[in-house]
Symmetry: none
Subunit: 416 residues, 2 copies
């Protein structure tokens, strides 16, 4: 089943509000086999709303709208769509009573008269009970089965109505979906989009007939497979097989599935093996520690560390030698090894992770340009150091450095 | 000037990515008097892209697209729009050379052949230099002056191209706009939305006829004024006057303007006064250090610190007494004072900032529930400690704690 989404509101169009409703609805609907194939956003303008709804009815005949059901003058969805379907707006006294009761419960105040418009229902429309706000949703349908479902724009109310009404109604309409859109994401790091595409060859376009999307970010390149043409159970089986093949060909750059955070995976595998972690951070300034402590229970593994931003901290708290610092420079293989060893020793952990680099925009030299990063790992076999050259802005270089450091720990543990 | 925005990508339509580009573009354009009046999102489907572009050209004749300029098979914007305008795609060797150079600079590797497609330019199109990625933007225009500007979907690249090309081109086209939508935001912290609303009284609704919006977040409550009806210069003057009045009434909870980061402001005021900073972080695990090092030049002020996640680190590296830890607990006024003093002493800085708390979801007790945070500031007069009780999830509690710690330094410096 293919539908369209129309999100309505000046706030959205002017960019004061980021449209999170659209992404939420898309994911909820896709899981039951309903695909949003077109999304439109217009402001609080009656003509533009009418034009957008007409076009959507013409194209797909199945439309969900969000927004414009409030009590104020700039809320125009209800009258515009009623008119488009040739219906009168009639006051529904049961809804008036509900809104009055809600006002009393929430504010101990009487319902303002402006809210009466929220109880106006197009003749023949189905009222969708809103358990999280005053404006009910509305479902209006013509003789040919073309429909528009109107939802409020407030995310909490929109989500409630989606779960309570939209999903059940659509499920009933489609039965067991002949096809569902189900996606599977695997996460890679330490390889660029183009190099990964070359490695994957023909698989880079589609795997077992399913399209593959490359989604690059600082954490690496995510690969997303999407099944669009199979029934739900078949889709899952096909995705399983495709994922296995993709993982085989991509190789050890694959570190996890959709939503996996490398810091969390590293914490978990350290916990399983009784490892403990200390960090020594220069250019990242605490970012690696912050990532490792984002997760509840990280204290089982993570002891802490030293933010050795200034060179004096590297010598005093980590035992990096003055000679190494002055002969090799703070951003060097030798210093990062001493930092990694130093933090593990000082904090008494089995693993020490060190990062030193030039995050920019200043501080680069011809030999060590901005983006030069050294990563040191102590404790998994001999102390190892890895040099990297990143592009990007300061924040991206720092995030990439933490990701590469965590990836070295992942690979180090896997190789033991 | 009215234009349309077409954002392209299966990931947007399927809800895997929230469309932040749309809001960003809208705000940038509104400030120069260009209004996005219609926004459409379609997937990576040639027919649907073509249909959406045709409709947009029909409606407004001025269209910006984002997405679909990558090197892979699911990137279809370039050929689809070239075909729609009846243009050939011709390889531009200068762009090939730029992409090759970029690859060499970033990865010391040769450009993969797949990237050649990013150097294909529709005949007669204007190439918009991309300083943040491989795919240049493209501006294509027909004999009647109807145009489509194609931008990459990667936010950093899209933002760079907007600033470097789109804004200058549009500015030249429109000259001075009769009205512009311009907003002004001031940032407050350390006060809740309701308390701030009470303090502002009537100003909380509108200031000099301009509506005021309250935008609460972990950093505090932002206040946004918007002028919609004035010419650009008049709007700026009206906003200046309104902002002055708002700042007066809100008082010392105001710490900055739109986009200001409290960490940056604290670094700047420390630099001006010759202060240096060390941190001692428990529950925030490095997040405060990460925030302080987000900004170029932070090394003038920030020396580093100790991530004292485990209690043994608090005693060994910060000199917190075992007795204090066992009698008062790690999350206590006494321990945070010793942490603040300890990091300043160990690192030889004029200011020490310490945070200890229970970020949750586990670890709370009836006396010290989740959200209990102690903040210690050493060096600005006598060592001070501040207890706070936050609500929110782990990430929010940690972010609020860093913000409150920075705010204490800001107020401490201001009071000297």
């Amino acid at each position: 089943m293919q539908i369209e989404l129309l999100t309505i509101g000046d706030e959205l169009l002017l960019g004061f509000t980021v449209d999170t409703n659209a992404a939420y609805l898309a994911r909820q609907l896709a899981a039951i086999g309903v695909e949003i194939v077109h999304r439109t956003t217009v402001g609080d303008d009656a003509e533009k709303i009418a034009a957008a709804v007409s076009e959507a009815i013409e194209r797909t005949g199945a439309v969900i709208t969000t927004g414009g059901l409030g009590p104020t003058a700039d809320d125009r969805t209800r009258p515009v769509i009623a008119k488009l379907f040739g219906r009168e707006l009639v006051r529904d006294d049961a809804i008036v009573a509900q809104i009055e009761a809600r006002f009393w419960r929430m504010t101990s105040a009487k319902m303002p008269q402006t809210n009466i418009v929220q109880a106006m229902v197009p003749t023949g429309a189905r009222v969708l009970q809103n358990n999280h706000g005053t404006a009910p949703g509305l479902w209006i349908e013509d003789a040919e089965g073309r429909w528009v479902a109107m939802l409020p724009g407030v995310p909490r109310e929109m989500r409630g109505l989606t779960a309570d009404s939209i999903i059940p109604i659509l499920r009933e309409r489609i039965g067991v979906a002949p096809t569902a859109i189900i996606s599977r994401t695997i996460r890679t790091t330490g390889i660029g989009e183009s190099a990964l595409s070359e490695r994957l060859g023909e698989l880079g376009k589609s795997v077992h007939g399913m399209p593959l999307a490359f989604l690059p970010g600082w954490a690496g390149v995510d690969l997303r497979l999407t099944s669009r043409t199979l029934a739900p159970d078949d889709a899952v089986r096909a995705l399983d097989a495709a994922e296995r093949e993709l993982r085989d060909v991509a190789g050890p750059v694959v570190y996890g599935d959709d939503g996996d955070d490398l810091a969390k995976l590293v914490l978990d595998s350290c916990r399983d093996r009784g490892h403990t972690i200390a960090v020594a951070e220069s250019c990242t300034g605490g970012l690696l520690g912050a990532r490792l402590t984002e997760f509840p229970g990280s204290s089982d593994v993570f002891r802490g560390g030293v933010i050795a931003y200034d060179n004096s901290v590297k010598t005093k708290l980590l035992g990096v030698s003055d000679v190494t610092l002055s002969t090799r420079g703070a951003v060097s293989e030798e210093v990062v090894r001493e930092m990694a060893d130093g933090c593990a020793k000082e904090l008494g952990t089995t693993i020490g992770i060190a990062i030193t680099g030039i995050a920019g925009p200043g501080g680069g030299t011809p030999e060590k340009p901005v983006g030069t990063v050294w990563i040191g790992i102590s404790g998994l076999g001999e102390t190892r150091a890895l040099g990297r050259q990143y592009v990007g802005d300061r924040e991206e270089i720092r995030l990439r450095a933490t990701q590469a450091a965590l990836d070295q720990v992942r690979r180090g543990i896997a190789s033991l």
